[in-house]
Symmetry: C2
Subunit: 221 residues, 2 copies
DNA sequence: ATTAGTATTTTGAGTAATCAAAATCAAGCC
DNA sequence: GGCTTGATTTTGATTACTCAAAATACTAAT
């Protein structure tokens, strides 16, 4: 069985990999993301390569094998189902579930996961809108793009908030920009670095930086 | 923070200690209970002693300090609340919760534990009838004695089943001897090694060995 | 083509937990 | 006392993970 450490490495690798598809992941990036010194990552990636979870090109970087990707998706499934469970069943706020899930994701058994999945009605996204892989490790297709890339006048539905910082999430909450809500983009002003949104009678302004982690799809209401 | 291993050692120490109060616990006993070789226990108990969790008398054995006992009770609380949660909320059978709780007990945070406790209505016993320490580490007083020590004619209420073996628990279930149920002890025959119980119109026979792990209190109905 | 700067790898060491097997200890028994 | 037995401790290794710091390789610039 994979240790928690191994699971965290492949999980991190997976998220980096989807951020920049097709590229090798630099070990230094991994080191800072996982908060260990670079040398540690080098040795660890060697072991992961021996275990068949990653392909390692010394000095260039590494990428997940299909086995590594499968493991990553499994961990992600556990993480996201646990997050949703904490919110739906235990009354957690979406801003505080990440830490807790970070621990639980390594110990929930397949049996427990199946019960949670069933109880929640086989959900396809966690509280942040992140897609939940199914038991076979398949991700529901999602075609959302960053709010920051939308143009003035668009009507959007917020699909996903790609940021785990509790303060950020509470801010999103207070502004009513949670996944599932619909808004009109009054104005996207990259020069000023702000976006103006409207929904109902309310108007809000968010910064471009924040809008980068808010993923939206077109809304036609 | 205590590692899972440390938590398991003090937990085991605690259960041995309540089984034979006042006695030092032999390291060999611990070794077989924890399924490690004796030498491992010796070194581990030394470190636990350095950490102030146990008192270690070389060649004689060891016992928990009050700090060690507090930690053990904390772990026990997590374990038992998780077990009850799995049964009540996730539809687990009481025979299958132990394994799962064994892992989860090391990662549930205080916050999560509090939510579970609240959701379950601050219960005082887990599905096996084992008392749940409160947040301050105090155990609800329980004065149950083994069914095997009862005499013919007694009316008893089953308080607790002190055995985690799934097969044993399923047997108990099938015989209707779960915690909370009431029965008349028709006959306790130590020679034959059997006990005959009656409740309603049904009669069952259990062995002395099994009756040792069934704890009961007097019932007056 | 040398150099400066950055990223990566190597080396040596440490912590936590474990095992196998040899050494030691403590009784109890003629 | 000497011997056997059983438990305990010690010793030397191993696995998994990590760090600090030195060594090395690559990139890009002068």
């Amino acid at each position: 069985m994979a240790t928690s450490t191994v699971e965290n490495y492949v999980k991190q690798l997976y998220t980096e990999q989807t951020r920049t598809p097709g590229h090798l992941i630099q070990l230094g990036k991994l080191a800072s993301a996982l908060d260990v010194v670079p040398g540690t990552v080098t040795t660890m990636i060697r072991t992961l390569a021996d275990a068949g979870l990653v392909i390692y090109e010394p000095r260039n970087g590494c990428s997940l094998t299909s086995a590594g990707e499968a493991l990553a998706l499994h961990v992600l499934r556990r993480h996201r189902l646990v997050e949703l469970f904490l919110v739906k069943v235990l009354g957690y706020d979406w801003s505080e579930v990440h830490e807790e899930a970070e621990e639980l994701e390594h110990v929930v058994s397949d049996k427990l996961l199946e019960r949670i999945d069933e109880l929640l009605g086989r959900p396809s996204a966690d509280p942040h809108g992140d897609p939940i892989p199914n038991a076979q490790g398949q991700l529901p297709r999602q075609s959302a793009r960053p709010l920051s890339q939308c143009v003035s006048g668009e009507r959007v539905r917020i699909e996903r908030v790609n940021n785990q910082d509790p303060q950020f999430l509470r801010m999103i909450d207070e502004m009513g920009l949670t996944p599932g809500t619909r808004h009109s983009l009054i104005r996207n002003d990259p020069i000023a670095g702000t976006l103006q949104l409207e929904s109902g009678d309310q108007t809000r302004v968010v910064g471009t930086k924040a809008a980068e982690s808010i993923l939206v799809s077109p809304s036609m209401d």
